[in-house]
């Protein structure tokens, strides 16, 4: 049961082969047994989960169930959930019990009737690519427990890979859904900016943050995405457009699909064996009827520099709210008000978060704003324009998600710049606001490799279709780590 797809689980629930309480208990028991080592979850609340499962069973019995009612899901701990501790991976919020639901939480649980298995570990305030900046300890990659699961949605990725949950949510500001999906052999989708509401999703960089699904297949992601999207007047950048059924086009044939291969993604900087797996996946697509065309993203090498100005600038502004006054941590001892702020923030934030706040404060400060912040925004425009140009000659762009497979715990933790460069292929997509996916496409030394798919604005259905057809022809996505139990 634990390896079944969301569609199969929905069928089993509808056919009364299993109840939501039984299904949720299966996963809760696995969490009890396996989470102490993997550390994918930071909060589990059996009673709350089972109460949600009982409510789902009642809906199923009453005939008012939706497609995913009763299916358990893990929530990244960046989403506020009423009555649940919501930490964002930080000491600053270690005791914060949210008084309200994020829109994504409300939609998935109150509306769709999904059951929350708990809150997953993450890099502190989503700042990291290895899950090592979490205040709640590192997460182990189920494929090799001496390695990172990726980040920032590392807990969600490890939870699904170890089948502690059938699926999970993530958020992606610079690659935080796609990179951990790649490193843990999952399918993950970052939607077009504005498609999934940011209300109640603790803000890191507001012009880049976007929530999305992480699961075992494109089909599972499509079903999950259906429950997550929609216009939300509580999010000032939510887009008001007709809601798609993301599962509708999954089976469309790929004949005539034009795949753009950016020459900048196929040059130096990527592990040769990772690149070989990516090229083999592209060859498989050609067998499925697609053709390839070389495209260019000439400014893509500037995406990491521009991102590390824009994201910290927005973060320094967003994280100014954590001042020890209205919620969260407050230093136990302080003098005047300023001293209370200074000590609260010094003690409540970890090293990486402080670094980014300082970068942000600097690039926004008088005398540096034009040279850094405005220049980064101009480069952001150039990067977005590169994609517009590229999509004139192709339907979908492909390349590696990450330049390497999962690295060792501790390997890059002391060197921020090396860590930042692990997102070299994913960041441009956030800057442009485009939808992107990572899908499993092979293994190097027993570790998963991810293929990145980038679509044009609002092409989520097409991306899921392109991913699903590949997953019908290959079984990389169905491989599970051995020796979990």
């Amino acid at each position: 049961m634990i390896n079944k797809s969301l569609k199969e689980l929905a069928q089993a629930l509808a056919a009364k082969q299993i109840s939501s309480v039984e299904l949720s208990t299966l996963f809760l028991d696995r969490i009890v047994r396996l989470n102490p080592d993997i550390n994918a979850f930071v909060t589990v609340d059996r009673e709350k989960t089972l109460a949600m499962a009982r409510a789902a069973d009642a809906r199923i019995a009453a005939g008012t169930a939706g497609p995913l009612t009763g299916i358990p899901v893990a929530q990244k701990d960046i989403f506020c959930a009423e009555g649940w501790t919501t930490t964002c991976g930080s000491k600053m919020l270690a005791n914060f019990v949210s008084p309200y639901d994020a829109t994504v939480i409300r939609k998935m649980h109150s509306e769709a009737g999904m059951v929350s298995l708990g809150k997953t570990n993450m890099d502190e305030f989503a700042m990291g690519s290895s899950n090592e900046t979490s205040y709640f300890g590192q997460v182990k990659n189920p494929w090799d427990r001496t390695r990172v699961p990726g980040g920032s949605s590392g807990g969600s990725a490890a939870a699904v890979a170890a089948r502690l949950a059938p699926a999970a949510t993530g958020t992606d500001t610079g690659g935080s859904i796609r990179q951990p999906a790649a490193l843990c052999n999952l399918t993950g989708l970052k939607p077009t900016y504005g498609v999934v509401s940011r209300y109640g999703m603790i803000a890191f960089a507001s012009s880049l943050d976007q929530g999305g699904p992480m699961a075992a297949s494109a089909e599972d992601c499509a079903l999950l995405l259906n429950t997550m999207v929609g216009f939300d007047e509580r999010d000032s950048t939510s887009l008001n457009r007709p809601v798609d059924d993301y599962a509708r086009d999954l089976d469309k044939p790929l004949n005539g699909l034009r795949i753009g291969l950016p020459k900048e993604f196929f040059g130096e900087g990527c592990d040769a064996e990772v690149m070989a797996a990516v090229r083999a996946a592209i060859a498989e697509y050609e067998k499925l009827g697609a053709s390839c065309v070389e495209v260019s993203l000439p400014n893509s090498h500037l995406s990491v520099p521009a991102y590390y100005v824009i994201a910290p600038a927005e973060a320094s502004s967003n994280l100014s709210r954590f001042d020890g006054v209205r919620y969260g941590y407050r230093a136990p001892e302080y003098g005047n008000l300023d001293d209370m702020y200074m000590k609260t923030r010094a003690q409540g934030f970890g090293a990486e978060v402080k670094r980014r706040i300082l970068i942000g404060a600097y690039v926004l400060s008088h005398g540096y704003y034009d040279a850094y912040y405005l220049q980064a925004q101009r480069i952001r425009r150039l990067i977005a324009n590169d994609f517009v140009e590229a999509f004139k000659s192709c339907d979908v762009i492909m390349g590696p998600t990450s330049p390497s497979t999962a690295f060792k715990l501790g390997e890059k933790a002391a060197d921020p710049v090396q860590m930042y460069l692990s997102d070299i292929y994913t960041i441009a997509v956030n800057l442009a606001g485009l939808p992107g996916m990572s899908i499993p496409c092979g293994f190097v030394g027993g570790l998963p490799v991810g293929l990145q798919l980038v679509g044009n604005y609002f092409a989520e259905s097409q991306l899921l279709n392109v991913a699903h057809r590949y997953q019908q022809a290959t079984d990389w996505h169905a491989r599970r780590p051995g020796a979990i139990d």
Binding site: G194, L337, Q377
Partner: protein, 95 residues
């Protein structure tokens, strides 16, 4: 460009983060590494390029000037470090 120790301390103060001399020194090294990466931007001619603040070119929505939220002060203050009589308590600001 490289940041001096004094600049690191000044930024930390602007960001209201207390920083010890030791931490400032380590931070200086890390920030200078990061700014070396960022400096690549300076070689790019962006004259005439419109800065892009957002992925979608949409303007802010307006709504009716009407009360839409309910009063949840008790729930919101329940998570505050220190409150009294419906107010947030902080160290004395005005003598």
């Amino acid at each position: 460009m490289s940041l001096t120790l004094e600049q690191v301390k000044r930024i930390a103060h602007l960001a209201r983060i207390e920083i010890s001399d030791d931490e400032a020194l380590t931070t200086q090294g890390h920030l200078n590494g990061i700014f070396q990466l960022i400096e690549q931007m300076q070689a790019v001619d962006t004259a005439g390029v419109e800065p892009m603040a957002h992925a979608q070119d949409v303007s802010q929505r307006l709504r009716e000037d009407a009360v839409t939220e309910v009063d949840r002060r008790a729930a919101f203050q329940a998570v505050a470090p220190e409150t009294e009589a419906g107010l947030y308590l902080v160290p004395k600001v005005i003598e």
